[in-house]
Symmetry: C2
Subunit: 339 residues, 2 copies
Amino acid sequence: MGVTLHDVARVAAVSIKTVSMVVNESPRVSSQTRLRVLEAIESTGYRPNMAARSLRSGRKGVLCLAVPELTLTFFGELSGAVIKAADRAGMAVFVEQTAGDARRELELLSSPRLQLTDGLILCPLGLTTHQGHEVQANVPIVILADEHLAAPVDHVTMQSVAGARAATEHLLKLGRRNIAVIGAAPELGPARLREEGYRLALEAAGVAYQSELVIPAQHWHRQNGADATQKLLDRQLHFDGLLGLNDSLAHGAMHQLRLAGLRIPEDVAVIGFDNLDESRFSYPTLTSVDPGVDALAATAVRLLLQRIGGGPDVPSLPRHVEIDSRLMKRDSTNVLVSR
Amino acid sequence: MGVTLHDVARVAAVSIKTVSMVVNESPRVSSQTRLRVLEAIESTGYRPNMAARSLRSGRKGVLCLAVPELTLTFFGELSGAVIKAADRAGMAVFVEQTAGDARRELELLSSPRLQLTDGLILCPLGLTTHQGHEVQANVPIVILADEHLAAPVDHVTMQSVAGARAATEHLLKLGRRNIAVIGAAPELGPARLREEGYRLALEAAGVAYQSELVIPAQHWHRQNGADATQKLLDRQLHFDGLLGLNDSLAHGAMHQLRLAGLRIPEDVAVIGFDNLDESRFSYPTLTSVDPGVDALAATAVRLLLQRIGGGPDVPSLPRHVEIDSRLMKRDSTNVLVSR
DNA sequence: ATGAAAGCGCTAACAC
DNA sequence: GTGTTAGCGCTTTCAT
């Protein structure tokens, strides 16, 4: 530490400007000078000071990713994909955990921490649509989420309504008519959208909506899925299908159903949303909506980098990209017992 | 953006020095001046420029966390805990993915990216013990891992040997004598340590070590666990117990065992390592070694912050803290069929 | 208790 | 092509 451009310049017998150009790979340096500078860099062990570079250039080489929590497996997988995509573009990534809390999501926007970054990928859970206008900061923002907030920033969304609808239709096609939903929430948000898909499917099939089968869950952890399912069981409600609004809830639900001695899928067909890796290996393997994690991540990073770069071909209006989702059918909705 | 100390100073009719002291909560400012400055900060909407502060002070308020990949569920959970612990200390966290590759782990150490941070928490997988001396950088490092590398930095480790030994002893107590191991690796590393615990348990019980039951797996994903298990089955080896060197491998193994029509735990008792949340809800629920993720994370952050702060009471010699692990017994090793 | 001024290491505009 | 120079916004002596 401590070797500066000046030191290199002295060793190479050039000005610091020349060294700077070599470091930044500017083509306007003669190849012999470049070579001498490169040697000097080597011999001094020079490393550019990123803080100084940031201060001067404004570019940080860092993105911020805000997710509810990494312990929610989906966000662990999503964050991994975002970091990988950012790394390909030479960007480092800050990960912030907001706990899905609207206050913390908003706090982050004006946090000094955000100054250390060139842009933010926000996965909001607490923020509801009408708070969209509050989503603004000193850096470009891309919202990566289920829903389209009314915020004047780029959005990358998954097909929440269509995905949940396809999932529900799949259950209906299996002859299930009493389909429970786990993970509902009163506020606008992902829960509401996925619920909406459920509702639309029922409606299209002419199946009555039974509000008592729709169980809320504050957080989408496995334990909450188990708890919500226990409520269904305690209330002695009849259901032959179950839609977990995410896979973790569905896995918690399957656990609790088994404890109650119910068979999956014979007694209750279960379906989730997120297509976690875990769901390919659980027992039974879990049918799930694949939201396209890699595409979501790569797209969010791409849009954000475009905003940061700010080329002339980047439209000033907010863009909205929806990533295709796909229903992955597995044993948890297979009426025929596998094996 | 763009409001600087100068702007605030002008509004408050003081010098930038005074504003700086107020911002940094120095006590050497009269309360009336402080109040006036605070008002000016409020009215101008001033936000400190972190890049400039870093350049000047050297402190970044940022830690770097390097893990193999977040998609490995254990590292997702661990990272969440580290970020939470760092956040409590007001530090932001960069997350880097090394893919468990020794080259990338070493590259990171000399990466300019590290300059944007005050310290590094490294979870090495590829680095082996004899590369320990290469682990040095311009910032303090804490190694958070299974093993104790021969590196002159603080270590926070889990009880890999003791944990795997306890797990194996548990299987032995159930009367299992042919215990397969999945996830072995030829190189020194976590795999070797956990394998060592397995070996010690067999030895102490006077049970012969059968090398053909020890199956390697390059990466510790569920799919690799399934593949390794399929190898055991293909080779028609007899085994009545299975130790997954992590939970993901064990879940993959259980999946493959089920496909083969084997019952868990009756035919094969399965045990894992990591105690993922997933393991409390799988079928059967998975017995696992709980390495103490929260304690690992909190301790690593604490040691690192001490090094960064560099108080007089911080010993200059590298420290080594081992976090207690605990065997969580569940249905996958319950000989009596639950339910 | 407060002000003035000197840089931290770098980039970029401007000369040559 | 290369050198000179002026800051980026802040912290921190040194005066007052």
